[in-house]
Amino acid sequence: MNIFLILSVLVLIAISIWQITKIFELSQAKKVNTQVADDDDNNLNGKLMFAFLIFIYGITIFSFWSYGDVLLPNSASEHGVDYDNLMWISFAIIFFVQTITQALLHYFSYKYRGEKGKKALFYADNDKLEMIWTIIPVITLAGLILYGLYTWTDIMTVEENDEALVVELYAQQFNWKARYAGEDGVLGDANVRFLQDFEGRNLVGIDATDPNGFDDVVVQELHLPVGREVIFKMRSQDVLHSAYMPHFRAQMNCVPGMITEFAFTPNKTTEEMRQDPDVTAKVKKINKIRVEKSKELVASGDMALDPYEFDFLLLCNKICGASHYNMQMKIIVETEQEFEEWMNSQQTFAEVIQ
């Protein structure tokens, strides 16, 4: 029934457009009907071009005005500060160029709209102009490339060191696990072949013959100490996944048969992040939406939604199957002391397999 309704509405729209154009044409019966734009068309569409320029500016301003608050809050990692700087510089350049070029394009379309008897200027070439708009992008891009590559090298150079915490992120359809290296700071060897050992208690396939693995700790909620470098080693047991931690400006694919790496230093605890004005505003907005939704739910006899509290998230960002949209893990950044306490309460691999 619905499809019939939709189709008939669409057909009616089509018919009404057709009738309107008919009326439009009949009302100008004296004009020659060539279907080629005449002065009236040029005039109208030229003006619409100018209106469209205002529309583009309008939707830009509107989007920033009403959607500015959905953007990610300030980064919670050390390298994220550089990342955000580079992002804002790039955006400044983009907006500058966008504003000017769209203005020229649409203003010219309006200003030089055709008129019978007018002749265009025969202007085929100007090497100087071509040079200018080759050189300017070259210089701008050179700057962006250099800044970008400098930051990139900085972020991607992962050096093993004693200070750093080594954590394995382990992806599977459709959940995440994390493995800590334990006292020795070395992750035990692992392979999917060992997953079936110990009646499925070997959650990430640690090789039980490798002594480095005995003190490893496998968990389903990621805890990180603030201010200490974390070196992530990513693995996947089935298909491609991507470990995406947007608040830390961090992402790396998890590839079956391969160990990939990413490192960053968290510089804000979860508690500190919850106090951040951007975050509190966002949480407030989300909770308002949830209260509205709860009213509907309660009215139809369901449970109301719990109020939302901010947490860092690890999301899957590579299509991985049906529940890709819900493959996530909570990340908790806490003080070194809280982290140690939490860690001491976890079972090591040796304890799990006993």
Partner: protein, 596 residues
Amino acid sequence: MSTAAAVHTEEDHGHHHKETFVTKYIFSQDHKMISKQYLITGLFMGIIGIAMSLLFRLQLAWPEQPFGIFEVLLGKWAPDGVMDPNVYLALVTIHGTIMVFFVLTAGLSGTFSNLLIPLQIGARDMASGLLNMISFWLFFLSSVIMVMSLFVEAGPAAAGWTIYPPLSALPQAQPGSGTGMTLWLVSMAIFIASSLLGSLNYIVTVINLRTKGMSMTRLPLTIWAFFVTAIIGVVSFPVLLSAALLLIMDRSFGTSFFLSDIFIQGEVLHYQGGSPVLYEHLFWFLGHPEVYIVLLPALGITSEIIATNARKPIFGYRAMVASILAIAFLSTIVWGHHMFISGMNPFLGSVFTFTTLLIAIPSAVKAFNYITTLWKGNLQLNPAMLFSIGLVSTFITGGLTGIILGDSTLDINVHDTYFVVAHFHLVMGISALYGLFAGVYHWFPKMFGRMLNKNLGYVHFWVTAVCAYGVFFPMHFIGMAGLPRRYYTNTAFPYFDDLADINVLITVFALIAGAAQIVFLYNFIHSMFYGKKTVQNPWRSNTLEWTAPIEHFHGNWEGEIPHVHRWAYDYSKLGHEEDFVPQHIPLKKGEEELQH
């Protein structure tokens, strides 16, 4: 060389052939008929592709709500009218595949390369009519197989249009990776064969069959674009074919090119030593040039239409040709920017950042040259011209965000988010679609001997233009909020709950845009039969196709093929009464060919 070929073909084809219904309308070897076949098949696929996008937009705006239309169209895949997550993924996958390959590669390039290459260079037909016919029918076959894959038991391919293994390789990983994926791969292999035959034909035709006087430097920019596009296609499509074949081997014959160390559904699989990253390299070696295979023909069409309708020469013809060549060359060495965080060596990321950002330079040159062409013109704002201006606008808006995505550092956090979706839809999806529409409005009289209704064209353009920005501009914000793409819903956990408004707004714009395409379809079909009859050169254009008679027959021109004496852009040239001087008009005494 070109002269000899031209004389030779004149003897062969300068007369009417007796043709049966089958040789004229079905197994035709005439480029004009093949071009119409490409266009109509492409439009049909386009309807499917766009309709799919509207379905998943409904799901995104009102997640997990029952819709009657889902029940009708998706049947058992939408129990009680609620879309299944696997079907959501299948819809985005097939939408991408159909739009990129079937509509914007075959539908755009196939239509206009076939129509315009012989007509604009002054040739009787393509170098090989037979190969051309085979090329179309292979495309048709691959379209049929792709559509068929929608109806298999477990559903069509659902691993994203990039079909990364292991997801695409293992039927255990998702239902769409069974028969649906096999059909996808077979369809694409046939599609690639079709594309290669077509491209080789275009290249040979442009090199060998130009009429007397049509030197490479006098070629219209459309032909330059089609010619270079064909070269990119020949260079890169075979690599995708090899990726598809290796994937078929992995799927069906137990090899391990792309698979290693996999545990799925309680079972360790035997695959050892392969790498999904290898597949990503092979895929994007085509995948990125593919963007330009889609875009360059649209830019070529735009160059021609903007010059004709501005009644001005295209500004900086040589720079335009140089930038097409530069883009073509660079396009083959930037594929790694899709893989910054795939696990490949970060040093490679630096190299690809460098080459990728270089592409901004020729792109900027093209954009500025279009704008300068408009300056002090006498703009005839026909629907084709509006779509061309619209193309330049979306090309700039979408292209600029490429500066962010092409930068490996910034890519880390926006990779695979809706920011990417917004970027590539504007810069290649909408732009190329506008190129397609512009081409249809401009050359419809040449194809069907009738004019499209301009008022419907204006309605089509303005509604589409507003909605295109309405859909994709706010989408950047969803990406900047950190929402990954290909999520069935963003309401599974509360963090993205505040995106609901934006998603509704986007979907409303998308639905209106979809309705606007019905106006176009109506105009297209109605005008094909009842449109106003055209005059020979309705847009008062310079290029050779308008010197051919309105009536179509094999061989294009009665008698001798016109010779070419000037470039294609002598609009509003001083010393001429009319504001256009077609290419076949000899230079006046003392007239310089170019007035730089």
